[in-house]
Symmetry: D2
Subunit: 226 residues, 4 copies
């Protein structure tokens, strides 16, 4: 688990693009693995849940789930147990992504359950206030992503540096063990460098890499100024 | 696809029991395959989505998803594309299960998308009226399951035979191509026989088999009076 | 109830515009009442639920709820019983509006409960298939509104006349007692006339009237070519 | 607003019981007003939203909404603006009740909007961790209610005193301006006294009063040992 949490960290969210589904997901996972090995950076991939098993068997870098439902074993057709996701090979999960917002009580339940079975949790948030709230639930990471910048190509680290800095400050005041990531509009080495200069220990990103002409080159560029 | 739709049909919903998760899911899938081969009955399994890839690679019987989100390719973190589910090996899906009710417009979108990519769709319903509504969307199957009997051990085919008959009648009046299944409380050969005598062409069930001491024996019993 | 269902009918959805909230809602209700009295057209208003009581006490035209939750009496904090909505003065309700889509089983429950306590129900739908499904639930009206045209200013009766005609045909084939309304982009007398020429017996609309410089004039224009 | 926040405080959640709907809601409001006047205790009522207008016009005690949707003015059919709720006469609102759990980002939005228009906000929570999270959003009150005790008749102040104390401690460590209430199973004067001895400044309750043979007597008993 400590190895999975090593910073600086890059979490590549595969979302539901066809470019990152099935066999395309496997290609992207292999490109990510090559960059991780070449650069030594901790690159984590978060594919759709039906792709977790295959990808975690084919590559050595950590695989996360994009979401975990707050359900216990029983009659919950259409949901997936965190135990199922773990057994398929995932070692962590995103929680409360802006495209899958969760109820507060469910976030709390999922973060606790992840900790119990030694999975890493990353709560996504939209502003300084909700970042503070998230940090009281004791996840391993909080990833601040102003929703208006997601997929915009405008990096949060340049457009709203005060949100990244403010999040780092308030979270470290509450619980210094929690690492802050940032996302939204991140795609280049400069964006990631700027994020780290603001106190972030890594980035969470998607389309900037997935939709790039050459995702491997894009990833190499992203981590070039760490 | 015609092979997948062959009746009489048994759809075994794995839900989110630990007894049907991960390696336990694989054991249950293999038991189901043996019974399908021994008896010639069309047995379909519906595991949690992270288990689809492994199970569809290990057994030859059809694998269904328990649910499909009504999303198109793009930014939908935490959902899974039907294309992803298909590439993982599923050949069909449940829609609107009582534990994962869907909006009408989303049910329509998923059934259409399943048909486009040659996946079988099974809409689950709770009474005669919603069964009629479901059948106008042209799924391959409608599975009527009165919610109050799910997991009760009291078979719908005995407790509320008029709901099964009424559903068969109204659906065949609207679209005779749609096959009706029934579920809720079904576990024995007598239950399945009674369901078929009422016009159902198969059953959808879960705990009666999954939680049985010997699921293989329970399945053999279930299909013994077809 | 028959009086409330008299066609041609205009249902003015107040949505959540500040222009149709509180005192502004009352002004709009009074303008609607004047037009209804002057022209004899059956104009119905659907305000936010906290405004139902005041409006139904101040004007004589029918008041509908924009939505009803599918809950029975008991512990459902934050929802409103249909009995509460009725006692506040509403005589009908919209069901499954595109901005408040409902689960199929819940639509069925609300339509049945409305009928039991003599309230008029109007199911909103997005295409011909879901309109057919809606009509099997036996509401008083089905209002077809292609979501892509809502608030667009492009009237469905001109942009996609085949959807209105197709909806009228399929619904009358299933249940000729159900009247079809149409919405999305409707604002002028020509739009409403075109809708009625396609078989619709009225319209459901919002911003075209609410955001008009002079809502009363806009309403007079709307019903000028019936 | 200060008057509304005066402690000790009793918030009577009307939920969706028929006993607290429409005219019955009015009777209950009047009984609450009498007890507030006789005893000087700050009693607040939270009826269903269609009842807010009538009740706030008929009684002088404060009226709260049971829930506010996190929507801004515009096209949100079926929701109610907080501005609409305020204009109808409410001076505060419950947020995230266990029967209407909200997404974290929506809770943040509603609490901010309530503060902007001078409405009092009460976030409901289920345990110590989510209470801490809630307090970082700066509501006026946090009401801790272990869900398993709601409607049980077993008062949280006796069954799980450590949850009430732990909530008071953690919240006062984060933000001493926030008052803590407690709920779940509360119905008698002893229950309320025990709650206050644990550091709570009031209670949130429902069925214990609403379903009492004589709600006025039950309220008098509730506040008898403050």
């Amino acid at each position: 688990m400590d190895n999975v949490k090593r910073t600086p960290i890059v979490i590549l969210n595969f979302k539901t693009y066809l470019e990152s589904t099935g066999n395309n997901a496997l290609k992207l996972a292999m490109a990510s693995e090559i960059v991780a090995e070449e650069t030594g950076v901790n690159i984590i991939i978060a594919p759709q849940s039906p792709d977790i098993y295959k990808l975690s068997n084919e590559v050595k870098i950590p695989v996360f789930a994009q979401h975990v439902d707050a359900v216990d074993a029983g009659g919950h057709t259409g949901s997936s147990l965190i135990e199922c996701i773990k057994e398929a090979g995932a070692v962590g999960c995103l929680v409360n992504h802006s495209e899958k917002r969760m109820k507060l009580a469910d976030m709390d339940a999922v973060v606790k359950k992840a900790a119990e079975i030694s999975m890493v949790s990353v709560i996504c948030t939209n502003n300084i206030e909700t970042s503070a709230a998230a940090s009281t639930l004791k996840p391993d990471f909080v990833a601040i992503e102003p929703p208006e910048l997601i997929g915009s190509g405008i990096p949060v680290s340049k457009a709203e540096p005060e949100i990244v800095e403010g999040t780092v400050d308030i979270i470290h005041g509450i619980n210094p063990k929690i690492s802050v990531l940032c996302g939204a509009g991140i795609s280049t080495g400069d964006d990631m460098r700027a994020a780290m200069d603001l106190g972030a220990e890594g980035v969470l990103l998607a389309s900037g890499i997935i939709m790039a002409k050459d995702p491997k080159e894009a990833l190499l560029n992203l981590v070039s100024k760490i």
